[in-house]
């Protein structure tokens, strides 16, 4: 495979669709201005649109070629400015393959390669509609370069390399029950409610007035009923959305790579090397905390998995809390096999009220302003006060952590009703920060911030109001 190859003609559809998706408003603009344009300018505008929406994507498709060599993937692209991109296999962080159902009969898929470069936005390489064999070849070469002994035999490239026999590791498939629970407890409801409210805002005013006039007779039941309907629709929407994306989720370990496959209409396959994992995160919103359901994600130095929660690759979407460690340990060897007690970094009992106080202080000003300026509805904002108080309590209760070995720490935080637990290796901690104010010093308290890499940015893991002794001990461990 050393000759430059074009992607399949079907890839053209992707290019066209993308162009329309990004610039559809130009059509609207033209329709809107149609009446004001002279025939000459109408002709010019149509010609420009044809070029922009047809000729440009076609040339883009025609000029995009790729070569898979034994050492690197080389991409040529560009019309006026020729790009030549050379990605050696050891630099690739993740290989992502997305197969829409209509591409399945043709054995085609969209291939995305990500490196850890600091370029934001798009993945480094996006090849729409290439044969599935391309990704297989890349993965084979990639595994070969990490094992020098085998690399020698493969780099004497004769034909397409045959798959190197890999030790097939453990695999995991999500159960229907877990997936259903996961989908039902998704907080995706909240954005959907906002969208529905947005649509409501766009409805014609006289509908609303009619409805309100009728509703005036039974105002409260109507209001409650409407809220329940909106919530139900949003909930079902969020449920289906999660179900479609995580349909038949599987995780497998092959050699030193992890692979996740998921999705109903679009099968999405992501391959990531285990030694590139920056940190492992267990995440649990308060609903899932009641159901003892955890989500496991890995933080990577690239932005693979942009559709996943927080853009992080999901390893186990929904796993019962008591099976988590036993399930995950075979996939990532440095995650402990049993649940550790996170008792070293906890908020001391006498410091817990500080978290309540801070949470209350955050909402105090808005509440005062609302109560003062927007009567009588502003008084509803008083409900924020108990909410803030319990949020503070939630943080205090969920903060935890422990140094498990000389190479490993576990840190747990509670934010906005979500508990997050991080498993971080010492070598992946980019920097460590200890903060304390003069008032915290006599109380022997300190904040701890551990920075790890996350995509192209940092993930600051912040634990507040811990015992200063423990925090400084961790600092000393880190600097020695």
């Amino acid at each position: 495979m050393t000759k430059p190859r074009h992607s399949h003609v079907l890839g053209l559809i992707t290019h066209l669709a993308k162009q329309i998706q990004e610039y559809w408003f130009l059509f609207i603009l033209l329709l809107w201005q149609w009446g004001n344009l002279s025939p000459l300018w109408r002709g010019v505008a149509i010609a420009a649109l044809v070029v922009w929406f047809l000729a440009w994507p076609i040339t883009k498709w025609a000029t995009l070629t790729y070569i898979v060599t034994p050492d690197a993937v080389v991409i040529h692209s560009g019309i006026f400015v020729r790009h030549q991109l050379h990605i050696p296999y050891p630099r690739i962080q993740t290989v992502q393959r997305q197969q829409w159902f209509y591409l399945r009969p043709f054995h085609l898929e969209t291939l995305k390669l990500e490196t850890a470069s600091h370029e934001d936005g798009q993945p480094e390489v996006r090849l729409p509609a290439v044969p599935t064999s391309v990704a297989d070849t890349i993965n084979t070469y990639r595994q070969a370069t990490t094992k020098p002994s085998i690399a020698a035999t493969v780099t004497t490239e004769s034909a397409a390399p045959t798959a190197i026999p890999q030790s097939q590791g453990p695999s995991y498939r999500i159960t229907h029950r877990a997936l259903t629970q996961f989908a039902l407890t998704s907080t995706g409801v909240i954005p959907l409610v906002l969208v529905l409210l947005g649509i409501y805002g766009k409805l014609p005013k006289d509908w609303e007035n009619q409805a309100l006039a009728q509703a005036a007779h039974y105002a409260l039941p109507f209001l409650v009923g409407a809220i329940i309907v909106v919530l139900l629709i949003a909930w079902v929407g969020a449920y289906l959305w999660v179900l479609i994306r995580y349909y038949h989720f599987t995780l497998t370990k092959t050699g030193d790579q992890l692979e996740t496959v998921k999705g109903l209409f679009q099968r999405n396959t992501v391959t990531a090397p285990i030694d590139r994992i920056q940190a492992v995160r267990f995440k649990q919103n308060i609903l899932r905390q009641w159901l003892h359901l955890q989500t496991v994600q890995v933080l990577l130095a690239s932005k693979a998995a942009t559709d996943d929660d927080d853009h992080d690759l999901v390893l186990l979407p929904a796993i019962a809390q008591d099976q988590l460690y036993a399930t995950l340990h075979p996939f990532i060897p440095w995650v402990p096999a049993t649940a550790p007690q996170l008792t070293d970094f906890v908020v001391p009992r006498q410091a817990r009220w500080l978290l309540n106080r801070n949470a209350l202080l955050v909402v105090a000003l808005p509440v005062i302003l609302l109560c003062w300026l927007w009567q009588p509805w502003g008084y509803l904002s008083l409900f924020l006060l108990p909410l803030a108080y319990f949020q503070g309590r939630f943080v205090a209760r969920n903060t935890g952590g422990r140094r498990l070995s000389d190479e490993l720490v576990m840190l747990q935080t509670g934010h906005v009703w979500t508990r997050e637990t991080f498993v971080v290796r010492r070598q992946q901690i980019q920097s460590l920060e200890v903060n304390f104010s003069v008032w915290m010093r006599p109380k022997h308290l300190a904040h701890l911030t551990v920075n790890v890499r996350h995509g192209n940015r940092k993930q600051a893991i912040e634990l507040r109001y811990l015992s200063a002794k423990q925090v400084h001990a961790l600092y000393d461990w880190y600097t020695n």
Binding site: S431, V434, N435, S437, R441, N451, Y475, T479
Partner: protein, 156 residues
Amino acid sequence: MLPTSHHLPPRIKRIWGYSTLGSFVVGLVVTALLYWAHLGWHWANWLVIASAIVTLIEPIVEAGLIPYRYRFTRYQITPVAVEMQSGMVFKKRLAIPIARVQDVTLKAGPLLQWQKLTQVTVATAATSHTIEGLELTVAEQLREQIMQLAQEARHD
């Protein structure tokens, strides 16, 4: 706390002083513009008063804190880590292992150049941290040291 840590060069106080003066001048200009707007377009006069108060108070506080800012800002380079310490009321201790350092940047604006000082920014794969001012020679030495140690650490 850090037995072998260093203070920034004392001349940094002069730089901070000048930058305080700079913010005073900016404050004066803003106040003058607001006064002008008050005369021309009848903007509320409390804007002018508030701006004048801020212009007066802010540089005084900033200037008054310079000795403390100087006393509480420290840095240290050990064979394994770069450490920084700052803050009087809100204290901060920061550690960056040499092995995690990706690059070191020296940067100096006109004021720092004039005093032959430079800012040193140490960047990791995720974060970057700045030492506000060092002697040019010390900074270059430091950069060599960090890069040297980083090289060695990577060979491990």
